[in-house]
Amino acid sequence: MSTITATLDTDRARRLRLALTALLAAVVTVGAPFYFAPFQVFQLTMVLLYAVALAGLNLLVGFGGQISLGHGAFFAAGAYTAAVMLDRYDTGHLATLPVAAVGCFLLGLGFGVPALRLRGLYLALVTLSFAVFLPPLLKRLEPVTGGSMGLTVDKLQPPAWSGLAEDQWTYFVVLAVTAVALLLARNLLRSRVGRALLAVRDNESAAEVMGVRLSLHKTLAFAWSALFAGVSGCVYTWVIGFVSPDSFSFVLSITLLAGLVVGGLASLYGPLLGAAFVMYVPSVAQDISEAAPGVVFGLLIIAVMFVAPTGLAGLAGRVRGAAVSRLTRTTSAAGDRTPGSEPSAPPTPADPAPVDAEPVGAPPRTEKE
């Protein structure tokens, strides 16, 4: 057993396994739209686009240790940017993406300023207020936004050369956007600025002593996070072809945050799992009863917090850790059973029992001092 795990742990084997997993994932993601029915493909597309928003939120909440209940509003801002550009200026879909991205980046930069002074609940409230006031504002600005009737715009149309159906083409476009977004987020985190962000989350004063400029990294975390939400919203408009203030009530912000927590904070693929949660759980629950989604959503969040505080993404690691520690416990207990030896509690190297450690996905500590 131990020899098998030892060989599996060698560098080459790991690389091979990684390549195989990547290949498998690529085949599945590319093959999916040809296998599933159009409605299911549409659902997968929605999962992908929510994943972009959640990846952004993850940068802020999971890795940055800040909190935002206003990401639905950044999402809405991106969606409306795209819708207004398509409706009034007929710019074409691709042109809306950079505008939505830059616009939301600047918006996020603005919201990063209160984030410098506020933390925890206070920051949550400020961002929530943004999410609450945006829908009425959109209703008021009727000449531009179409008021409460919303705007109906063209969906993405597959070009003739592709030979794909509308749902398939949309899926691939969104897949490309999502892949690029997740790659950018990953690059960002695996660099000097990513480490700075994590350092600020874990210990602000130590980070500053090491030369990390707190204000810069905190506001930019907010801005990047808003950018991802805005891109996600922009793509939402491409897919749905319709925006209205009621699609972006503050419940969306809460749903996004809940989805991220369930998927796994501070995990690179947690956003994908969280996005699936955001997409499928309400629609499955709807089959049970009209009122069920809210209840099921709430119960599942409680269940996840109890069973897997590191989210779905951390679940596999936790299960494996528990299995390994149990395994070592039984094997070393068996080894101890030599005549004359006292039955003592064997050390469990797999479980270092960190004194002040929080689980990786634990909600960020809000009060540090």
């Binding site: 090491m210 030369g211 400029r213 990047w224 004194v355 002040d356």
Partner: protein
């Protein structure tokens, strides 16, 4: 190299530091001692700009340190460790050390997101430097371990490694051996002595462990209730009646 002149810090009605002045010459090790609450850590916080004194000046190599924003201090070559460890618990040991090199990195947000070739190069360099430091301090085995959950003595060394990653010329150690066992104190003292020589460091050490301070430092400054009560060589300090009174009290 470092000149502290007349700094005072008041927190509400409490005067934490009251006109403290001393200098640190290049290449020396200065010990800062005093009973609990004497203002030693507050003084450290002033030197790293975590706290702004109400009066007085701090000059580092003829630059006014108090005019710098807090995050620029590391870039000037000043690093510190913390009294109760200031590590990043959820980062690995290697990442902790790499954060120490933050002020020497150039990568900005956009370049990092696009992972430009120069970002990769810088990442590789910083990673190699961190690994060198970890090897030097005997931490290579735990490089990929999260900083939480390691033994206290190991974490103290991780913090030292992180401070060294700043490439400091002035290193401030805040109670480096508190909480260490007797044997570990000696080991840590040897380690500090050897890195001091190797990296050509100037040291300021706050410590209650007198053996450690007296063995390491060329000069000792003693504070009590925010005031400097004595300054001199370790031998002089040990004989100084004011120091003895502050630490042991006098017979009534």
């Amino acid at each position: 190299m470092l000149a502290v002149d007349g700094i005072s810090v008041r927190f509400g009605g409490i005067t934490a530091l009251d006109g403290v002045a001393f200098t640190v010459e290049q290449g020396t090790a200065v010990g800062l001692i005093g009973p609990n609450g004497a203002g030693k850590t507050t003084l450290f916080n002033c030197l790293t700009r975590r706290c702004t004194p109400d009066a007085g000046t701090v000059r580092f190599e003829d630059e006014d340190l108090l005019a710098l924003p807090p995050h620029s201090v590391a870039g000037r070559g000043i690093a510190r460790t913390f009294q109760n460890l200031g590590l990043f618990p959820r980062l690995t040991v290697r990442e902790n050390v790499m954060v120490g090199a933050h002020s020497r990195g150039r990568t900005g947000h956009l370049a990092a997101a696009l992972r430009l070739p120069r970002v990769r190069r810088e990442e590789r360099e910083l990673c190699d430097q961190a690994d060198d430091l970890l090897r030097r301090l005997g931490l290579a085995d735990v490089a990929d371990h999260p900083a939480s959950g390691l033994p206290f003595g190991t974490l103290k060394r991780v913090e030292l490694a992180r401070a060294l990653a700043v490439r400091p010329r002035l290193l401030l150690l805040d109670e480096p051996v508190n909480g260490l066992s007797h044997g570990e104190v000696d080991q840590f003292a040897d380690l500090v002595r050897s890195v001091r020589q190797e990296f050509d460091l100037t040291l300021v050490v706050v410590e209650h462990h007198m053996g450690f301070v007296m063995g390491l430092c060329d000069k000792v400054v003693c504070l009590d209730f925010g005031r400097k009560i004595a300054e001199g060589s370790p031998e002089e300090i040990q004989r100084d009646p004011a120091v003895i009174e502050a630490y042991l009290g006098v017979a009534a």
